[in-house]
């Protein structure tokens, strides 16, 4: 028979629409409106997974997002999403679900041996057991533990779904759509306030959807929900978001919502995102998150078939599913009695109601009697039987002595339990509010509001349908008033029935069993028992934060929403301290597990990080150039020809650039236009060099320090007019140099009349370097006399290149005659292609960053960030020539006077030549005095740059070495695993020391 546990009628499922699904390959039927959990239960399936540590059989325990046990994998498009809560997975035609953490099958699981060996696995087991030998952790312990533990398996393929993102602003955000949430949304919306109402469930209504023993305005609660939703839906100022979890409450009323869009659809439109992240800035927030029922902590309280009482009632009334044919109800609070009554009314045999309380309320006793239900007061469950499904429960009678006497055995195929209710204070806690203990309610409830929020209804410990409705209306009015200043009086609906539930218990129940042999679970998801919590206290964990980490209670993905209060009570008992002294752990974002896809949104693949391309990019691709990533830039690394490797290509490029001409794309260099009457004065203060006397049309190398005196950037600066400079920076330093200039200009020297503009992206730059450089550019330049007399080294002129305006710099980062032509970015491709064609006439070559590095190293030019590391002064770098000696101040001048920076023993920039010219040093290698220094000896310095130099036909290196400039000619060593490499300390210029090649 299909769905043997489905009721005859009732529930919110669509009985006309039958859906087929599979669980571990077995085909079953359900209905539209079912969750996977309700459909499984309808088919009599309780066993859905194995527990985390002991691999105990586990069943569905709840009906909501707090579910700790029923975690399943869902197959879709050839891959599976693990760890979804079956209680939240909506059924669709063809849904494929699998159980987790079992091998080889759910029914027979080898890992269950852990359960029998459980005396070997107490709390803190890992800390105690896997201490020694240390090396075993990586090789033995961790792999074995990882294989045995855990829940689902991660998906194997890239996520085939995409995810959306939306920013939203509203006056009032209402999280939760139970009675108080709906009332709040309505009251706020009627004032005209912009309202967003979200609920993690598919249907709005919360507890009202499973309430059938009360009425609102004379209507069935679910009908009142429908009417209210119709009212809200008709208002333009209301956004309704079902299937949307408010998972994070951040600073300044910034609340993150996760909307699930396609997971519940059999064949979703491929254009739809799977989920959407709503980043909501709400003026006011109403938290209507409800409350969660607490499990009772008794031995073997984890068998499949044991559920929370309210979940049993929800499955019955909302989904039309009986959790069993013979149900035992164990409780310490009133609400579970209603579950028993509803069961009886649907023809389910109620084996008994077992109430911890000596005298349960008379009215409930009377109703039970009328239905002929056996009631055992002052009684607890002390154990259960049945491995894969509960078969019977052991009862224990509470004696006045505090002892428990055996109360016999009761047969049952399901057990509903209730230890009372815990308000869901997660969002309040995330908003940085501090919960306070309410002794009357026996619960932590929200204290003072820290942000613009208020909790309402059950989430603040207020129960009873009429009271929560009233409180909801008031919260909505209050929120709207605070957000907009407006108010409106609406007629409140009134409820009858649904009275507040009294009673409840915390901690482990007493029993007459051998305490060392039985397991009473506190945290189902992490397999933590009452015994473990007590053990943690005995072993010295006295704060709940320590107990939590030692036992892992409350550390699972449900953040202990079922377990925290019981664990706290057990710890408080073991410590013999009041519960409030033990403390409560903090709830953190996200409320429920949230996909990485939601956070990543569209920032993946090509959109993960912007790619910045230079004007030569297409040409480089066509000509087989190899790119390297420099920040977000794609820069050409080298241009291999005829199967050359990098070494051969770079050697050829270097040789041609020195002998004939090379072409290099320098567009990535940072460029800043500094303009205004005080432009020269500004640069004078920023850079070490003097600028006021720099003639128009001339350039100077600029060195930029921070106020501590360390080199942070460099570049050539050209003066185009009295009050206009073209500043260049390093590629990586462009944004930070610009930001620092703005900082000094705005906050230290607001008196200066200067404007600065970043022009990095406005100019394309082609560097033409080599003896033939002038001949290469001459045919295209107009308006500039290129002769050495008119345009000497370190000059700048404005003219045209192929008819478009250009700024022509005569500068060199190679030591050869060189020009850098700046044209508007849109002409960059034309310029590059024109020059690339022209250099062919001179047997020239395009070259990349590697050749650029070699050529500059042959000349001893530093690269900031490679040869310097943020602790190098101009003196250290041998660049005191760049400091304007007569300047009273510049950024870093005072810093350079600090005693440590002037002291003897500073690292200094030097060249290193290996004795064997073929041996190339490793960049970053340490430099020592001794050939084989003793362990613990400090290095004298390190290699910063190292290359093969084609011009010298040998290797060269640059290094920072302690007092290095005085060591010229001396031999030092670079110890390497293969042996120490002797090196000679030299000057930093290896090629054309007198600089003759540059001034032609």
């Amino acid at each position: 028979m299909s769905q043997p546990f489905r009721t005859e009628k009732g529930g919110r499922i669509d009985r006309n629409e039958q859906l087929t699904f599979t669980f571990d390959g077995e085909q079953m039927q359900g209905h539209k409106g079912d969750t996977l959990a309700s459909a499984l239960l309808a088919n009599g399936v309780h066993l859905v997974g194995r527990s985390f540590k002991y691999h105990r059989p586990r069943g569905i325990i709840s009906s909501g997002s707090e579910e700790p046990n029923a975690l399943v994998g869902i197959y879709r498009n050839g891959d599976q999403t693990p760890n979804l809560r079956a209680t939240q997975v909506e059924l669709y035609q063809g849904l494929e679900a699998i159980s987790q953490n079992r091998f080889p099958s759910l029914g027979f699981d080898i890992g269950a041996i852990n359960d029998l060996m459980s005396p070997l696995f107490p709390a803190g087991f890992y800390y105690k057991t896997f201490m020694w030998p240390k090396s075993f952790w990586d090789r033995v312990y961790e792999p074995v533990i990882r294989a045995a533990a855990g829940l689902g398996k991660p998906p194997k393929k890239p996520d085939h779904d995409f995810y959306g993102n939306l920013y939203a602003h509203c006056d009032v955000l209402v999280a939760g759509s139970g009675p108080s949430g709906l009332a709040a949304a309505l009251a706020a919306a009627e004032t005209g306030a912009k309202v967003i109402l979200c609920d993690e469930q598919a249907e709005f209504g919360g507890s009202l959807l499973s309430e059938n023993s009360a009425s609102v305005d004379g209507k069935e609660p679910a009908d009142w929900v429908a009417v209210t939703l119709a009212r809200l839906g008709a208002m333009d100022n209301v956004t309704l978001l079902p299937r949307t979890t408010a998972f994070g409450y951040f600073a300044h009323n910034y609340v993150a919502l996760a909307e699930r869009i396609t997971d519940h659809i059999a064949n979703p439109d491929p254009k739809l995102p799977r989920e959407r992240l709503w980043q909501v800035r709400a003026k006011e927030v109403v938290i209507a998150a409800g409350a969660i029922e607490r499990p009772l902590v008794f031995p073997e309280n984890d068998r499949p078939g044991i559920l929370l009482a309210d979940a049993g009632r929800t499955y019955l009334n909302r989904y039309g599913v009986k959790v069993g044919h013979k149900v035992l109800v164990a409780t310490a609070s009133d609400s579970a009695w209603q579950a028993a009554f509803d069961m009886a009314d649907h023809g389910v045999e109620v084996a008994a109601i077992v109430d911890l309380r000596e005298t349960p309320p008379k009215n409930l006793m009377a109703i039970a009697e009328a239905r002929g239900i056996r009631v055992e007061a002052g009684c607890v469950v002390t154990g259960t039987l049945g491995r894969k499904r509960v078969k019977a429960a052991l009862l224990g009678r509470l004696m006045t002595s505090g002892q428990v006497a055996s109360g016999g055995q009761v047969e049952c195929d399901a057990l509903l339990m209730s230890g009372g209710w815990t308000p869901t204070v997660s969002l309040y806690s995330q908003s940085r509010g501090k919960v306070v203990w309410d002794g009357d309610k026996g619960a932590f409830v929200p204290g003072k509001s820290v942000q613009h929020e208020r909790s309402t209804g059950a989430s603040k410990g207020l129960y009873g349908l009429q009271a929560t409705l009233e409180d909801g209306y008031a919260a909505g009015e209050n929120a709207a008033k605070a957000a907009t200043g407006k108010s409106a009086k609406i007629a409140y609906s009134t409820a009858t029935g649904g009275e507040a539930s009294n009673g409840g218990t915390l901690g482990a129940l007493p029993h007459d069993r051998n305490a060392s042999r039985v397991k009473a679970f506190v945290d189902y998801q992490n397999d933590v028992t009452a015994k473990d919590v007590k053990l943690a206290v005995r072993e010295g964990m006295h704060s709940i934060e320590h107990i939590k980490r030692y036992t892992t209670t409350g550390m699972a993905t449900d953040q202990g929403r079922l377990s925290n209060m019981n664990a706290l009570k057990i710890a408080s008992g073991a410590l013999d301290r009041p519960l409030t002294d033990v403390g409560l752990t903090t709830f953190r974002q996200p409320f429920t597990p949230t996909t990485f896809g939601l956070f990543a949104g569209v920032s993946r693949g090509d959109f993960f990080d912007p790619v910045r391309k230079t004007p030569s990019h297409d040409w480089v691709v066509e000509n087989g150039g190899v790119f390297e990533d420099v920040g977000q830039w794609k820069r050409t690394w080298y241009f291999p020809k005829n199967g050359e490797d990098m070494h051969a290509a770079v050697a050829r490029e270097c040789k041609i650039a020195r002998e004939s001409v090379g072409l290099f794309d320098a567009s990535t260099l940072g460029k800043i236009e500094v303009v205004g009457p005080d432009a020269a004065e500004f640069l004078e203060r920023m850079y070490t060099n003097p600028w006021k006397k720099l003639a128009t049309g001339r350039c100077r190398y600029g060195l930029l320090l921070n106020d501590a005196g360390f080199i942070t950037d460099d570049g050539v600066i050209g003066r185009l007019a009295e009050g206009r400079f073209h500043v260049t920076t390093t590629t990586g330093g462009a944004p930070s140099v610009f930001a620092r200039m703005e900082d000094y200009l705005q906050t230290e020297w607001p008196d200066l009349d200067v404007w600065i503009t970043s022009t990095t992206e406005q100019y394309a730059v082609a560097a033409v370097q080599g003896p033939k450089a002038r001949e290469v550019i001459a045919p295209f330049i107009e308006g500039i006399d290129l002769s050495a007399e008119n345009l000497p080294h370190m000059s700048v002129r404005e003219g045209t290149f192929c008819g478009v305006p250009c700024r022509l710099f005569r500068i060199s980062f190679t030591g050869e005659l060189g020009f850098e032509i700046n044209v508007s970015r849109r002409h960059g491709k034309m310029m590059w292609e024109t020059l690339a064609k022209e250099i062919e006439k001179h047997s020239g070559t395009a070259y990349g960053t590697e050749t650029m590095h070699v050529l500059r190293a042959e000349k001893g030019y530093i690269i900031v960030g490679q040869d310097t590391d943020g602790t190098v002064t101009p003196q250290d770098a041998g660049m005191t020539w760049a400091i304007g000696k007569k300047k009273l101040d510049f950024v870093g001048k005072r810093g350079l006077e600090r005693p440590d920076l002037k002291a003897d023993g500073r690292p200094q920039f030097v060249g290193l030549l290996t004795t064997d010219p073929k041996v190339k040093l490793e960049e970053g290698a340490q430099v020592t005095v001794a050939e084989n220094p003793a362990t613990g000896t400090s290095a004298e310095g390190h290699v910063t740059s190292s290359y093969y130099s084609p011009a010298l036909d040998r290797t060269i290196a640059l290094a920072m070495v302690k007092n290095g400039q005085a060591l010229e000619g001396k031999t030092l060593y670079v110890p390497m695993p293969e042996g120490s490499i002797p090196v000679e300390v030299t000057g930093t210029v290896f090629y054309d020391k007198e600089g003759a090649r540059i001034n032609v």
Binding site: V450, A739, R894
Partner: protein
């Protein structure tokens, strides 16, 4: 994510538009050459790292680009005052008291 008011643009915007520039009102000495070692080290490195009400610099980097100052309670993240660069430092104690700290 913080919500920040730019006193130049006269708008509230999300934190992602701004860049925090650390403690406010640390002026670079007008003549650094006249400062003692201790004064210079104080200027370079020493920050109060306040737990509570502090004045800090912010720049509306993806907006107008201007630097301004804000008084923020570093415990609650609440902003208590925004003001333009160059304005004198407000009385933090008074602001704390008014905010009920």
């Amino acid at each position: 994510m913080l919500l920040i008011y730019c006193p130049y643009c006269d708008v509230e915007r999300a934190e992602t538009e701004f860049h925090c520039g650390g403690e406010a009102h640390i002026a670079r000495p007008s003549d650094p050459s006249q400062t003692s070692e201790e004064e210079w080290v104080e200027f370079l490195y020493m920050r109060s790292n306040t737990k509570g009400v502090a004045a800090e610099r912010w720049r509306h980097i993806h907006g107008c680009g201007r630097f301004f100052n804000a008084v923020r309670d570093t415990v609650s993240d609440k902003f208590l005052k925004f003001y333009k660069a160059g304005e004198t430092m407000p009385d933090l104690e008074k602001i704390s008291k008014e905010a009920g700290k």
